[in-house]
């Protein structure tokens, strides 16, 4: 690996905490790369091929990170009957929180009926804020601070009109309920790698992010995803063939499959969790929704490696084993990711600009 300041945070030794329930939400509307290319004069086939994207989700005008997070958390609670009074923490990771000041976490907590006494905060670490929440909640459960906790990753990100990011920046989110009782998937261990890298950023008050073109691939995504994956396999004394599934952060359809190949994973291992070609990059929701799709299909004893990435930059790795509880888990009480991807409506670029508030309007529209 590169010889730079590279910090590996050592997590506590494995405890018995893990995922108790999970739920996802993806908006109903979609736009195709052909439609975006039509407006900006790009070659649609080239964009589709370079980014491996077939459509991306678009939030409707009445959706935001709070509404998406609530739907995801409610879906998780439909699958597992947990008393909201026993949920002691909620962390919502996003880079598109509806308010700059006023937490999304308390809106979600109110909407799922959590009582007065709970830990809450909104997290921000580009696309890995949701998985940072998972680590925090796991640590709180392991140290008996709380019985259950929610970690949610959700975004309604925008790429600047005309920017390549516009083809992929989408909306969606996933909620993970973490605890020690009745876990459907043990989190065997988790670790993070982090560096100060200018690969992608958005300044306060700016509507769109910027990316350091040559920093996004190698020094950003691949360096961190691969280092975190390798560090985890070293710690667990595993090799790629020991895992049934692998899921990575997926800013486009290309990066995760390349990372998988570099690490020796096969298409059979990564295809279940690779959703970007159909829904785009849901940012903080990206890896967690991929993991949700994997949990939708997994069976007891399945081993999963899940690695997120957030620009700026860092990666969180999770080594997960599905437990016997999965057999009785009421997965079908809430829509699976497959189901969320099934029923969609495609819109044109004009409708997209109205939905995403990127046209200047007069007094007749608020």
């Amino acid at each position: 690996m590169l010889n730079v300041n590279f910090y590996i945070c050592i997590s506590a030794k494995p405890f018995m905490s893990g995922i108790v329930s999970y739920g996802s939400y993806i908006p109903y509307y979609r736009i195709k790369p052909e439609e975006i290319a039509r407006i900006w004069g790009d070659e649609p086939e080239r964009m589709k091929k370079n980014l491996f994207i077939l459509s991306k989700s678009v939030p409707s005008p009445d959706e935001d990170v709070a509404s998406i997070s609530v739907e995801a958390a409610r879906n998780a609670l439909k699958r597992m009957d947990v008393n909201p009074e026993e949920i002691g923490a909620i962390y919502v990771g996003s880079e598109s929180h509806p308010y700059a000041v006023k937490p999304t976490a308390t809106i979600v907590a109110a909407a799922i009926g959590m009582p007065l006494e709970y830990f809450a905060a909104d997290y921000e670490f580009a696309c890995k804020a949701g998985t940072a929440g998972m680590q925090n909640v796991k640590a709180m459960v392991d140290s008996n601070f709380i019985k259950y906790g929610f970690a949610i990753g959700s975004d309604t990100s925008q790429g600047a009109p005309g920017d390549a990011l516009e083809y992929t920046a989408s909306a969606g989110g996933t909620a993970m309920l973490i605890g020690k009782n009745n876990t459907i998937a043990e989190i065997n261990d988790t670790l993070s790698v982090s560096t100060d890298t200018p690969d992608f950023w958005r300044r306060e008050g700016e509507p769109y992010p910027k990316h350091g073109e040559r920093f996004t691939g190698e020094p950003g995504y691949f360096k961190h995803v691969i280092a975190a994956s390798k560090a985890m396999m070293e710690r667990m004394d595993t090799k790629s063939s020991d895992y049934d599934y692998v899921v990575f952060h997926q800013p486009n359809g290309k990066f995760p499959s390349r990372a998988a190949k570099i690490l020796g994973f096969t298409e059979d291992q990564y295809k279940t969790g690779l959703l970007t070609p159909y829904i785009g990059n849901t940012y903080s929701g990206s890896m967690m929704t991929g993991l949700s799709a994997v949990l939708d299909e997994s069976k007891p004893e399945d081993r999963i490696l899940a690695v997120s990435f957030g620009s700026g930059a860092g990666s969180d790795a999770f080594d997960i084993t599905v437990t016997g509880e999965m057999k009785d888990y009421k997965r079908d009480n809430a829509p699976t990711v497959k189901k969320l991807i099934e029923k969609v409506k495609f819109i044109d670029y004009g409708m997209y600009t109205k939905f995403r508030k990127i046209i200047v309007t007069g007094d007749s529209v608020e």
Binding site: E63, G113, S364
Partner: protein, 133 residues
């Protein structure tokens, strides 16, 4: 009462469809009421807070084309009278559907959405809308 205090006061029942059930006659109400309109004084002390399931069916509906500025981005949208499984009838938007799929008697379930935004710097009001099952 200011708009802000109305939003704050209504948060609990708008987020979670919480109403009241009269334990004198068994009727449920949404939005919440302190006194049952049938039983009047008989219902005092017998009104119980209940959380509705969020499931119901469409009694009637209309397509709105002429909307105030706050809702203009969603036009045309469907506004329906939804009869909750527990009895109360409420007015709400039906979202994420093809208008041709909407019919009287169709089963719906609650969705959590933004209801209104006070411009770009005001408070955001959230609450219930409905989706086809």
């Amino acid at each position: 009462m200011t708009e802000l205090s109305r939003i704050w006061r209504e948060t609990e029942y708008r987020y979670n469809l919480i109403g009241f059930k009269c334990n004198n006659c068994g009727e449920s109400y949404f939005p919440p009421r302190d006194i049952c309109p049938h039983c009047h004084r008989e219902s005092i002390g017998k009104m119980e807070k209940v959380k509705f399931s969020g499931n119901g069916e469409i009694l009637s509906y209309t397509t709105v084309h002429d909307a105030p500025p706050a809702f203009k981005r969603q036009v045309p949208y469907l506004l329906a009278l939804v009869k909750l499984d527990e009895g109360p009838v409420i007015t709400a938007q039906i979202v994420d559907c093809d208008p041709d799929d909407v019919n009287i008697g169709k089963k719906v379930h609650m969705a959590f959405r933004k209801i209104r935004e006070d411009g770009t710097n005001g408070v955001i009001e959230y609450g219930y809308k409905f989706k086809l099952d």
